[in-house]
Amino acid sequence: MKKMRIVNKRLDDDLLMKKRREVLDKWPTGKEVDFEEAAAYQKSLPDSKVWWKVMAKLREEGRMSVFPRAGTPVLEKMIELCQGLRESGVLLIPVTTDSYTRLGQFEKVQGILDECNKTGKALLNGYPIINQGVKQTRKLVESVDAAFSPRGVSSEICIASGLTTYECGLEFITWAAYSKKMTIRELVEKWQNETRVAGWYADRGVILCTDLHGWLPTAPFPLSVNIVTLILQALTAAEQGLKAIYPLVHCMGNMTQDMAWIRLTPKLIREYLDKFGYKDCQIIGCCPAQTPLFPNPMDMGGAFAYLCYIAMVGSLCKCNATDLRSIDEAAGVPTKDTNTVSYSAARWIFNVIREQNIDFHIKGIEEEEKITRMEVEAIINRILDLGDGDVIDGLIKAVEGGVMDSPWSPNITVKDKVLGVRDAHGACRYLEFGNLPFSNQLKEWHRGKIAEREKIEGKKADYHTAVRDLWSFSKGKIVGLPPYDK
């Protein structure tokens, strides 16, 4: 039996209203949400709490903020944590939710949350925003003069609480990194609804901003597939009425490549948005992210250096935000103190380097841009072919056929036929191409780069090379030279 064709088309608003209540009815706190009141509350927020305005102001003024990760279950502790962040100069604050919340296990959360509240202990690995509900979470928003963003959950409880981003659009990360069995079709259906909710607010003058995360490359792997997903997220979100987005760019640690990706990604998204007629959807910034494995818990120096590297790349590329982890990233959920020291390091770099407004050029950046652009275009063209011009239909078929693929996915519906390794300078290259629709010329280019490394190491790159590369950052060695002493 042929499955129904899902296409990139704005949802019907009547249908939307019914579904919205359904979602909220999953837990009692949903009752706290009154749609019109939520929109009014959002409109009453000062500019400093409105994500897209903060980012626009940062960009205009030529500065940047850390975009950290932070979430702890007890409200008072969460407020303290966020106030600490604000004191370290963070203007963009995440509300990282716990894993059970992300999976909708609110009943279970409630029991644990009650115990957390009783004992003051953080037994959940994030802030359970659904169970906390609107009234509680507004206290958080009102206690800290910054803009808030929910992480890992997409519910109108967040909007009604005054968080001013909305996780929506095709959240590939949810599907490819967090779920075991969800199919790409299920993802598309789930998220079209969510995006339309944000569109509904946009129609009422409340611009909720969305960061595009894309298909997370959890290991050293070229970004082209990820960038394709960012573009698709943008196109589908814009169709549902979203007005402000910005991409996260997953930096892998080769400076030339990272900078090429940071330059290219917003450019490509803009081109495609324009091409498909979504000229009023603005890209309000670009946010490099710290993606590879972090230095080992005991190597605090390395952790600081890695953090400063990304802060530096963001500063040189004149970004307005940087997605940074704390120095405790490899050890566990950070405390207020480790957050503070980590983000004050970043802030030093932002203030000192970003504000120098440096105009630089790296040799090789054009080639990296060109190659990535060719790869992205090859994949998107194939998607459009497969979908007869519709990106969503094409996307579903592309994923099912491995035309879009990424390694190490926990999701069993992902093909996982591709693999990446670093080259002699630490740049990420495709070792195995699976069904990625690349020309032979492109494939040869990658093979040539990997060959340089093989020459240095005196052995062929294979699966084991890819495994070792998981740690190249955490061990502070981006391939290249053998140890000095040897």
Partner: protein
Amino acid sequence: MSKTPTIITGTVGMDVHVIGTKVISRALRESGFKVVELGMQVTPEEFISVAQETKADAILMSSLYGMAELDLKDFNQKRLEAGLNDILLYIGGNLVIGRYDPKEIEPKFKALGFDRVYPPGIDAEIGIEDLKKDLKARGKM
């Protein structure tokens, strides 16, 4: 004379961090073990029933998201009830929330029935070496 021990791998509870268990599973296979790779988000019950079905010799469980204790509350009792007295139990990853001293939490997980408890980010080989040693000591290899 030499048998091929059966090892179960996977992340427990709601943990999605699958890369480590994938790496371990392949390394085990390359070391000659029979591996039943359950992937991510395996319930304690599933570990137990698969262990019964496959007559597994060991479970190498991973948990990175910090909530292993919550997930494993009744695990030990249930596996004993299921008659799995003799199976080797290892666990590794980031076992609690926040930075911790691995030595301090070891007793907790030993009390939950685990024979070996590993600190964050170790090499898969370390666990595999221990496994060989332990299995040999029990005459299972």
